[in-house]
Amino acid sequence: MKEIFTSIRRTPYQSLAAFMILFFTLFMSTAILIALSFLYGLLHYVETRPQVTVYFQTSVQENEIFKLRNNLMNTNKIESIKYVSKDDAYKIYKELNKENPLLLEMVSSDILPASLEIFAKNPTDLPEIANYLKKQSGVDEVNFQKDIVDKLLTLTDLLRKTTIIFFIFLIFLSILVLLTTTLFKIALKKDEIELMRLLGATNFYIKKPFLLESTFFGLTASLGSFLIILGLLFYLSSFLNTYLKGIPDLTLSLYVAQITVWPLNMTFLSLIFLVPLLFGLGIAIFSTLLAIQKYLKI
């Protein structure tokens, strides 16, 4: 630790540049990681809602609805279909308006339409399914969330692509700055390194202070950015509570597990601490190794 602080004291501006670029990279990466997690969580949420809801005229018989349901299932494009009868619709209506007796008095199950809530295997089939349903007799109205899903898909896709380009730029910039500052520090310690070599220092012994310093920068930059992100998340939590009202949770499906993004929880917070930490350490150590590999050959 003493060696690290001595080195920082000797080259304050270079150390600050190394820290700041790492901090900026990690802060931006974490912010984008969170934004993408929320967007994917939102996309996942919308995708798990009934994607097409078809309402039938009140005169249509149940067996006709079931026949249509069977036809849809046979298309192989459907994940599942939920039938909501007139009675079910009335129960939902009652639940939604339980605090308004006047509205409950005015409605009976006869006037509410039966419906099918349809989940497609692939969101791209939604327009075709909706068009098919519109042509069927007895269909009163077809609602589907194509627009919302499409907009979210476009937004997440755009953000993902922009993020990749931005990430590459940030990584390149960080490596360049860290490489330059390490090379400067090596040049500054040229005499000491030469003496250490003559006194029998191993490669690792000479490299160790540079690696320790970059590890220190990686750790402090990731910790600093995490604390600021955490503060921002808690500051924005009341806004998010209002904005995401009605959505019980946002989850993110990863290959190995499903992670709850919202409401904030320890697992997600640990993830947004650990991923940038490893990322920051990776960049810092890689850049330092690159510099010392090139200029500290014995």
Binding site: D191, R197, G200, T202, I298
Partner: protein, 225 residues
């Protein structure tokens, strides 16, 4: 034991620094390498430190051939050797204690033992009360004492000194040589110098070099080129 067998060193620009040089140095022997500038004294020291590879011939240190390209244990070899330079090579941003402790840290000596070892070596070179002082506050003679303390600390078997008194006045030169005298019989000491008085007064083995060749190798020799 150090063995040079028909060692030659030619530099790419065509200069011949050493030509067919052969000698043996026994453990704990005290040897002067003498000769005018460019005679090949420093090249011998650099070959021993494995800073250079010979163009021809073999160099063996403690039965290990260090003159092959395959030899990779350079740091292990250098940890046996303490080196003293004409220009001292002390680190000006570290105090005297830290300068000497560096040698021990490189050897992997336990931190708790370093303090005593540094104090002992400073006592030997007569700078017991200077451990917190920075090199910029010391004279040339004192800096060379620091370099000697750094070379002898940590039980290094071989001491190589390249013109250790080259930058010093006569009185300081004798003070420094007294320290080498104290080390006689305890370590293998090889001193490259062209200081006639020093060599003549010590009456030790003298290997005389001229134009990269050994012209004399006498047990109790004198500076005579």
């Amino acid at each position: 034991m150090i063995i040079f067998e028909k060692v030659s060193k030619k530099f790419p620009i065509g200069t011949t620094a050493l030509e067919d040089v052969s000698f043996q140095i026994q453990p704990k022997e005290f040897v002067f390498l003498v000769g005018q500038s460019g005679a090949g004294k420093t090249t011998i020291l650099k070959l021993l430190l494995r800073e250079l590879l010979p163009t021809k011939g073999d160099i063996t240190v403690d039965e290990i051939r260090i003159s092959t390209k395959k030899f990779k244990e350079i740091s292990t070899l250098r940890r046996k050797i303490g080196i003293i330079f004409q220009d001292f090579k002390v680190l000006f941003d570290k105090n005297i204690f830290e300068n000497i402790a560096l040698s021990l840290q490189i050897l992997g000596i336990n931190q708790s033992l370093i303090s005593d070892a540094v104090k002992e070596s400073l006592h030997l070179v007569g700078l017991s009360k200077k451990e917190d002082v920075f090199p910029s506050q010391l004279s040339a003679g004192e800096l060379q004492r620091i370099a000697i303390a750094r070379a002898i600390v940590g039980d290094r078997d071989i001491i190589l000194a390249d013109e250790p008194t080259g930058n010093l006045d006569p009185q300081t030169t004798w003070d420094i040589m007294k320290i080498f005298k104290k080390l006689e019989g305890k370590k293998t000491i090889i001193i490259a110098t062209h200081n006639t008085d020093v060599v003549n007064s010590f009456q030790k083995r003298v290997i005389s070099l001229k134009n990269g060749k050994i012209i004399k190798d006498l047990e109790k020799g004198e500076y005579d080129i």
